[in-house]
Symmetry: C2
Subunit: 429 residues, 2 copies
């Protein structure tokens, strides 16, 4: 027997956000005795780990986005609504959106995070973020526009700042983007931008902590730094960014130093944006919802937070909450789906416990670092593992196939071929 | 011996526009005794015949655009500049752009055409054009947004106009777009938009003349109409569009009839936009430059127009000028390239004469029409021929390969999988 979305007797679960957590939850609720409504402001799931490859012209946008309807179209008890949530009303059990109001029995908030500029307005308006496909395409356009501009720029200073690419934040995204930019400098400039002296292009990676990839092992941090420097990236550790002057193009560092640049790529931090209607006392560090070990938001009834937006209190192994990574999101979604079924049959729910399967980052061709529980490695093999894991994690066979084909192409040609400025990026003001 | 762009002793040819004409000319001038500067406002060549497939979510934008630098990077006597031309000064032999002024010995204008709304402001602001990759992505977003909207729309009238897709103009682009929309209705709606009754979606193709594909044979026109109607498209011949009221969503026809729609796709006409600085007496019908049979703009010295922008006078076989199609552009470019070499060595140039190799259009799976000189055919074989010719005409092996892979995918799955609204299309006002 198939459960159907139109069956009013079923309890309604509204899921806000179709990232790793939301999409995984919805998949697990396929043909289970619930009406499920997935709400997202976009009509597709974004595979965020590969955004930097869209930005660096190695992958097409279409190959890392997956339309929700393609996934849940065949699930009769699940509906999709493209909508922006305006407010949540936990007392009345409803979600108010720009396309109408949805009543729920259970509400799951899985809205992820947005870029955190730590309150600096100049950096917020000049630093390009990399959290969505639209932003990845902006970043791609910006890189290519600057290369075109460098050719026709008249003063030495302007050319210097045009060709200086500064990435702030040495987490996986920052490291991977820096590596990809260095590969453009190394492989694309000599053939296709012969009027630019490739040594004039500079890639600088700035990190406030004393090592890159702070969530990984020390060994991997060192290997990543080593790889980046081999590719010609200038890595600045223990360095904080203070402010940016858009008029002069000068980036002010906390230690008094300055960098002349027209290109700031901001991967230095994220924050959750709590939905209006959730009381402030339920919000913890980084805008995350305070949850018990079953992802129930403390003090609210039948409201849950998953993944990056949740801050679980009471897991002895993670007293400060779990890391904001895809694996946590996916595992929490699985646990919550099974708890929904248990609760529905009167059983007690099970507490979430995170199984850390390891983490990894890629720097460039044949250069990656992998931490598994217990040991770390880097190099060729790590790079192949990184590719394999990411391919398998992509949603949909088509995307997997297209990304694989693109990677093969890029591997044999050393090219980043998708260098189209389809929509020129316009700077603020 | 290789000629080099930096060699000031070589005569300078400035080419404005890298469409079929401009790109082909530049390729033919590779390693010839000229300095060549290709100027385009975009950094890539657009393969316009497949734009409708980007719009209908069958192909990714990256697979039909080709970065100019990838093509001309290895040509030492050719440079590329991404720039918008502001004015041409034929007396001083210079081109003024937003990135500086270029002096020329020969100036080739190959700027193509833009969409012609025949002076109607309402249609210009509401009718979506399909001449660039950006516009194709807008159109894709608009189609998908309307389908999402139809699900949450409350009144019957609003749902009707949301699901009514009106294409104005029955040339190849209009016919192909109508066919692709009908395939979305037929193959995508039943699986992925189960909340929409697929019979409520309507695709209407409006053509002012008494047949579709007016430049093709009567037999092909009839076959195309037949195919479209089989797919469920309503074809209205002898019908002119008069005006559109954005507030009420009513499209006014010249015969007094009306259509309720929120989606007008405008493929009804093109016009050339003459560059400022070219005297009005050199401009003919449709904004095209009046040229002699060697593509020299009449009355100007060393200024040439190629392809859609040219209107050659004096070809007895084409007294009203040549058709504005890719084949004419490419053949004119080849002729002009060889004439440049002849003139340089003191020889006389040769007049252009068009060899019509035929024309074709596709309507949908296994449905295409082909006119060859002397005979016409349609159906399966025509469809395969259409695909083969278009694959071969694409620039770059990578694009050919990716388009081929996508076509295989679409063929076997019946899907249009790239249904991402990356940048929502925003209506005027």
């Amino acid at each position: 027997m198939a459960y159907h979305y139109n069956d009013d007797r079923l309890p309604t679960i509204v899921v806000i956000g179709g990232g790793f957590a939301g999409l995984e939850l919805v998949k697990k609720l396929n043909n289970k005795p619930f009406r499920v409504i997935l709400i997202d402001k976009r009509n597709y799931h974004t595979f965020q780990p590969l955004l930097y490859q869209v930005a660096s012209a190695g992958l097409s946008a279409d190959s890392i986005g997956f339309p929700f309807r393609k996934k849940i179209g065949p699930y009769p008890n699940i509906a999709f609504r493209m909508a922006e949530v305006q407010e949540v009303d936990p007392a009345a059990k409803k979600v108010i959106t720009n396309v109408g109001t949805f009543l729920y029995d259970h509400l799951v908030i899985a809205t992820g995070t947005t870029t955190n500029y730590f309150g600096n307005k100049n950096l917020a308006s000049w630093g390009l973020p990399l959290k969505s496909i639209g932003e990845a395409l902006d970043l791609r356009s910006e890189i290519l526009q600057e290369l075109e501009k460098a050719i026709v720029t008249e003063t030495v200073e302007e050319r210097e700042s045009t060709l200086q690419f500064v990435i702030v934040g040495g987490g996986p995204t920052g490291v991977e983007l820096a590596g990809a930019l260095a590969e453009i400098q190394r492989n694309v400039l000599p053939t296709d931008y012969t009027e630019i002296d490739r040594k004039q292009m500079k890639v600088v990676l700035i990190e406030a902590a004393d090592r890159l990839l702070a969530t990984m092992s020390e060994k991997s941090s060192k290997a990543a730094k080593n790889y980046l420097e081999k590719l010609g990236v200038e890595v600045r550790l223990d360095t904080r960014v203070q402010d940016y002057d858009g008029a002069s193009g000068v980036l002010q560092l906390a230690d008094g130093g300055t960098l002349r640049t027209r290109n700031i790529f901001w991967t230095a931090g994220v924050k959750a944006d709590p939905l209006p209607g959730i009381p402030a006392e339920n919000i913890g560090r980084g805008g995350r919802y305070l949850c018990d070990t079953m992802n129930r938001i403390t003090g609210l009834e039948n409201v849950y937070a998953l993944g990056d937006t949740s801050l679980i209190q009471g897991d002895a192994a993670y007293p400060n909450g779990h890391p904001q990574v895809a694996q946590v999101a996916i595992q929490q979604a699985h646990r919550l789906a099974s708890n929904f079924l248990r609760w529905e049959t009167g059983k007690k729910g099970n507490a979430f416990s995170y199984k850390d399967k390891g983490s990894m980052a890629t720097i460039g061709r044949h250069k990656a670092v992998v931490d598994l529980p217990g040991f770390s490695f880097s190099g060729y093999f790590a790079w192949y593992i990184w590719m394999f894991i990411h391919l398998m994690a992509l949603v949909g066979f088509r995307n997997r196939f297209m990304v694989f084909m693109n990677w093969m192409w890029n591997y044999f040609t050393y090219d980043k071929a998708l260098r189209l400025i389809v929509r020129p990026y316009k700077r603020p003001q």
